[in-house]
């Protein structure tokens, strides 16, 4: 009896933590790869509608975003009202700014990739179609024909 007692002392054996950095690095690389850092701070409220027939947006680098929705903070509402507005990059824009925006987006990419570029419209669901039609019309003029209406996954009843 005494023999056993002596060996299995109360002190816990220390765990070898040498592989801990490896594990953490593995996780780190996973998150680094999957991270998409949001590049624009939103100034409009965008609650996208639900839809079932959705497709994933491939090739994030070829997507340019146009946000449409009402101003999302009290301070902004005071200056800009509650009407839906267009946001390009970091600031509010008007319809006339879209050609320049698309031109800049195109310049930033390789020439061969331009036909593959997609414009993602992130539009609040309470927005009226008038402003959306205007934007679409503008995109047609610019020959930026591939568009994606950003939606969440969900059925009819979720709306």
């Amino acid at each position: 009896m005494a023999k056993f007692k002596k060996k299995g002392g109360k002190s816990t054996p220390s765990i070898n933590t040498a592989s801990l950095p490896d594990i953490v690095f593995m996780l780190l690389f996973f998150f680094m790869v999957t991270t998409v850092i949001r590049d624009a701070s939103l100034k409009v409220r965008v609650q996208t509608p639900n839809a079932t027939e959705i497709q994933k947006l491939e090739k994030k680098s070829l997507v340019s975003y146009i946000y449409i929705g009402p101003p999302n903070s009290e301070a902004l509402r005071k200056t800009f009202g509650t009407e839906p507005r267009i946001q390009l990059n970091d600031s509010y824009a008007s319809l006339n700014d879209i050609p320049q925006f698309i031109e800049m987006e195109r310049k930033a990419r390789d020439e061969r990739e331009v036909p593959l570029m997609t414009t993602s419209l992130k539009v609040d669901k309470e927005t009226k179609m008038g402003i959306v039609s205007d934007v679409k019309q503008e995109l047609r003029k610019l020959n930026a024909l591939k568009i994606n209406y950003s939606t969440k996954k969900g059925g009819l009843k979720d709306n």
């Binding site: 933590t17 801990l20 950095p21 953490v24 690095f25 996780l27 780190l28 998150f31 680094m32 999957t34 991270t35 998409v36 850092i37 949001r38 996208t48 509608p49 839809a51 079932t52 027939e53 959705i54 497709q55 994933k56 947006l57 994030k60 997507v63 997609t118 993602s120 539009v123 609040d124 669901k125 309470e126 927005t127 009226k128 179609m129 008038g130 959306v132 039609s133 205007d134 679409k136 019309q137 995109l139 047609r140 003029k141 020959n143 024909l145 591939k146 568009i147 994606n148 209406y149 950003s150 939606t151 969440k152 996954k153 009819l156 709306n159």
Partner: protein, 183 residues
């Protein structure tokens, strides 16, 4: 002897490696947005080069007119309809299994014409788009299952093209009213 000893690099204490890695890890966990962007993908029609009218005539029976007004009410082929019936109506129109005289002649010539008011809510617009797309997707799935025994998404490129030619998605959005009114 002494010289030799100084050349051997002193061991760097790697104990803080884990801390550094954790710091970075936490940063990236916080910065990660996991939700993938997804949505309904469509292609806008190109702008007409000049004001010439499209002279290819489309028979009335091959056009499925959907109108949405500012109150989000839907008029399908002249009748008030609920959004829930849209998918079935669109499917019937495109496929026309009973060869009715008022529905499309065949899926290749069927055109869905969608017109909305400037006051229509975006939500309703997306719902209608979604239902119309769903109708086509269901038809394509049915066709590919009966032909190849697989879902449309699982087909090879050639097979997919065949089905796409069987059921070409032709959803025409009428332009806003201030621009020339086509179809």
């Amino acid at each position: 002897m002494a010289k030799k000893k100084s050349r051997s690099t002193p061991e760097i204490n790697a104990g803080s490696m884990a801390d550094i890695a954790f710091l970075l890890l936490i940063f990236f966990i916080v910065a990660t947005t996991m939700d993938v962007d997804s949505g309904i993908t469509t292609k806008l029609p190109p702008m007409p080069e000049d004001e010439q009218q499209d002279d290819s005539e489309i028979k009335d029976r091959n056009v499925f007119t959907v109108l949405v007004n500012a109150n989000d009410q839907i008029l399908v082929e002249g009748n008030w309809e609920d959004i829930r019936n849209m998918r079935k109506l669109a499917k019937d129109f495109v496929a026309n299994p009973q060869q009715k005289a008022n529905l499309s002649e065949n899926p290749q010539v069927a055109v869905i014409s969608l017109q909305n008011d400037r006051g229509t809510s975006y939500n309703m617009y997306i719902q209608v788009q979604n239902e119309l797309k769903a109708a086509y997707n269901e038809l394509r799935d049915e066709a590919s299952r009966s032909k190849f025994g697989k879902l449309f998404a699982d087909l090879s490129d050639d097979q997919r093209q065949e089905i796409q030619e069987m059921y070409p998605i032709k959803i025409s959005e009428a332009e806003p009213k201030d621009v020339s009114k086509s179809n």
